[in-house]
Symmetry: none
Subunit: 214 residues, 4 copies
DNA sequence: CATGAATGAGCCTTCATTCAT
DNA sequence: AATGAATGAAGGCTCATTCAT
C-alpha cells in the first residue's frame, strides 16, 4: 500500500531542497555564474524537474530573495520585542540589520544585486510586490517608533519622523552593504574590522537621535 | 594642405564615442546584458573595430568605471576649495558625493557593481589599483578634515577621527547608492524625492558632527 | 515492457554516428577547415548536442585518431597470427600497414597530421599517451620479430635489431604516407599505381632482410 | 637627385624580407597559427603592404614552399656533381635529402603539410605545377642514375629502374619526414638520435642496391 | 607605393528551456 | 511526476582582406 501523505510532504520539501541548493550556489558564485545543471545536480534531481517546481531561473532567484527578506523581517520582529522606548526600537532595527548581515552574509549580496536591478523589473510581478511590501513594513515600523520616541522623550523632538525614517533605513542598508566591500581597505588603512565600524556607526546614530535636553 | 592634427583627435574621439556608447548601454541595462554587438551598433562601427580600441569587454567596462571615478574626484577637489573650516570640508565631501549622484546617476550602479565584484578581481590589475587609490585619496582627505575640524572647534571633540572618517565615507556612498533604488517608495509613501532625503541626510550628519559647546 | 538495452545501444550508437560524421569531414577537408556546425549538420543533430557527447572539437579529433590507431593495431595483431618465422612477421607488419592504408586511407592524413603536431601537445593527455603506447607496441613487436628472425636464420645476421626496427617502422609509415600523395605523379610518369609501388617496396625490403647464406 | 636604382632593388628585397618573416613564423608556429598582422610586424611593414607583394596568405605560404623546393634542388644538383658511378649518385640523392632535413628542418614540416593538402589544391595553380615539376626532376634523375648504375654494374641488375626510383624517392622523403616526429621515441627507447637512424637507413639502402656479384 | 583603420563573416562554446518517454 | 537528451540562439572574440587617405 502506497502512503500518500509522505508524498505530499515531499512536494514541499523538495521545493525547499531546490531553494537550498540554489541558495548555496548563488552565494558561492553568483546568479549569472550558476547554471541550472549545477542546481539540479546539487539538489539531487533532474534538470527537467526543476521546471516542475519553478518556472524559470529567475523565479528560483526570487525565491531565494524572498527567503532572505523573510529572514530579516523575522529578525527585526523578534529583536524589537525586547525594546520599550522609541529610541531603543529604532536602534534595535539598525542593530538587527547589522546582525542579519553578520549572520546571513550570503543573502546580502543577493538582495543587494536584486535591488540594484529592481528598476528593470516588472512591478506587477508578485515577487517584486512582495519585496516592496517588506520594505514598507520596515519603513512603517521605523517611523512609528520615531514618533513613539519623540513622545516618550527618548528621541530629540527637532526631527521630521518621516524623513528621518527614510534616512535611517536607507543609510543603514547602504552602510551595511558598503561596509563589506571595504573590508580590505579598513584593514589596510587602520587595521579595523567591518564590525568595529558598524558598532561605531550604531553608537553615532544613537547619539544623533538622543534627546539631550533635561 | 592636409592637417594631421584632426587625425589624432579623431582617434581619441572615437575611443570616447565607444565609451559613450558602452556607457549608455551599461547604464540602461547592465554589464552582463549588454553585448558587444550592441555596443558596436550603437557606436556606429563594426564589431571588430571595437577590439582595435579595447582589448575586451571587461576593458570597456573598466574604462567606464575609471571615467566615473575621475568625475567624482574632480568634483570633490573643485568643491572643497571653497571651504575653510573642518566641518565645512567634511560636509562638502558628502555634498559632492550627492551632487555626483544627481549629475551622473548612471555611473553609480556601475561603480557599485564593480565594487561588489572587486573581491573576485585581480588586485594587480591597474584599474583595480586605480580604484583603490581613489578611495584612499577620499578617505585620507576626510580624516584630515575631521582632525582639522576638531582643532578649529567646528567638530565635536568626542569622536575618533579615523573611525568617523570610515563611517562617513561608507555611510554616504551607501546612502547615495540606496536612495536611488528607493525612489519609487519615497514617492509612494510620502511623496518625497531622493533629493529631499539626501538633503535631510546631509543636514542630520552636520548636526551630528557639530560642536555644540558654547 | 520497455526494453532498456536499445537505449544503451542508441547512446553509444549516436557517439559513433558523430564520430562517423566528424571523420568524414576531417578526411575530406581537414581538422582546421571543418566546423562544429558542419559536423552537427552532417550528424543530423543540433550543435549543442555535440557537446553532450564530446567536450570539445579537439576531443572529437582525438576520438577519430584513436579509432584509427585501434584499427591498425587490430590489423597487425590479426595478420601476425598466421606467421611463423621472424622474417614473415616483420614483412607482415609492413604489409599490414600497407593494407591499413588501402583499407582506411582517410585515417592516414589525420594520424599523420596529429603526429606532426604532437610536439605541441601535452604529453600528459591520455590520448597522447595512448598514441605513444601504440607506437611503442609496434616498435616492440618489430624488434622482437627481428631478433626471432636472426635466431631462426630467416633474417641476415649482420643487422642491428634495434636500429633496423626503427628504420623499418619509420620507413614504412613514411612510405605509405608519401605514396598516397604521389598517386597522380605515378600515373603520369609511368602509369603505375600506389599499390604496385607499395608491393615493390615490400618485396625489396624482404630481399634486403633475407638471409642469403645457404 | 633621387636614385632610382636602389628603389628597384628594394622592391625585390622587400619581397624577400616578407618571405623571410613569414618563413620564420611558419616554422616557429605553423601556417594556421600565424597571422598576417604578425608577419607584417616581423617584416617591418604595414599589413596592407603585404597585399601589394602577395595576393593572399596562401600565396605567401606557397612562396615559402617554393623556396624550400629550390633549396633542395640546388643541394641535390651540387652534391651529385661529385659522383661518378650510378649507385653513388643514387645514394647521394638520399644523402642530400637527409642533409636538407638537417640543414633546413623548418622547410620540412611546411612542405610536408603542403603535400598532404595537395589533393585539395587546384592543379592549375602555378605553384602547384612548380612543385610537381620539382618532383619530376628528382624522379627523372633518380631513374636515370639507377639505369646508369645497372650499366656500370654498381647496382644489382634484378631491379626495375622505374619502380625502384619511385620507391626510393617516396621512401626517403617519407623516412626523413617521419624520423623527425619520432625523435622523442628514439631517445626514450634506445637513446638513439634521428641522425643515427638516417645514417643506418642510407647504409641499409646502399646494401640493398649493391651489386654483390663477382 | 604605403598605410593601418575598418570590416564582418565566422569560429567554438554555453546554457536556459523544452518535450518525448 | 520525473527524466535528461536535445535544442539553437546568443555570446565574446579573431583575422584575412579591403580601401580611403
Amino acid at each position: 500500500m502506497k502512503e500518500k501523505i509522505p508524498e505530499k510532504i515531499n512536494k514541499e520539501e523538495k521545493r525547499l531542497m531546490i531553494i537550498d541548493a540554489s541558495e548555496k550556489l548563488f552565494f558561492e558564485k553568483n546568479y549569472e555564474d550558476t547554471t541550472m545543471t549545477e542546481i539540479a545536480k546539487n539538489a539531487g534531481i533532474a534538470k527537467g524537474t526543476l521546471y516542475l517546481y519553478f518556472s524559470s531561473k529567475k523565479d528560483l532567484y526570487f525565491s531565494v530573495v524572498v527567503r532572505g527578506l523573510k529572514l530579516i523581517e523575522d529578525l527585526i520582529r523578534k529583536n524589537i520585542k525586547t525594546c520599550h522606548t522609541g529610541i531603543e526600537k529604532v536602534v534595535m532595527m539598525g542593530k538587527s540589520y547589522v546582525e542579519f548581515y553578520k549572520e546571513y552574509p550570503g543573502y546580502y549580496n543577493l538582495i543587494v544585486n536584486y535591488e540594484s536591478q529592481k528598476a528593470h523589473l516588472n512591478p506587477e510581478d508578485p515577487l517584486v510586490r512582495l519585496s516592496y511590501e517588506k520594505s514598507e513594513m520596515i519603513f512603517d515600523y521605523l517611523s512609528k517608533s520615531i514618533i513613539e520616541g519623540i513622545k516618550d522623550k527618548t528621541i530629540r523632538k527637532d526631527v521630521d519622523p518621516q524623513k528621518l525614517a527614510m534616512v535611517l533605513w536607507t543609510q543603514t542598508t547602504g552602510m551595511v552593504q558598503q561596509v563589506k566591500l571595504r573590508e580590505i581597505l579598513y584593514k589596510k588603512w587602520s587595521n579595523t574590522t567591518p564590525e568595529t565600524i558598524l558598532d561605531y556607526y550604531i553608537e553615532l546614530t544613537k547619539k544623533t537621535l538622543q534627546n539631550n535636553e533635561s
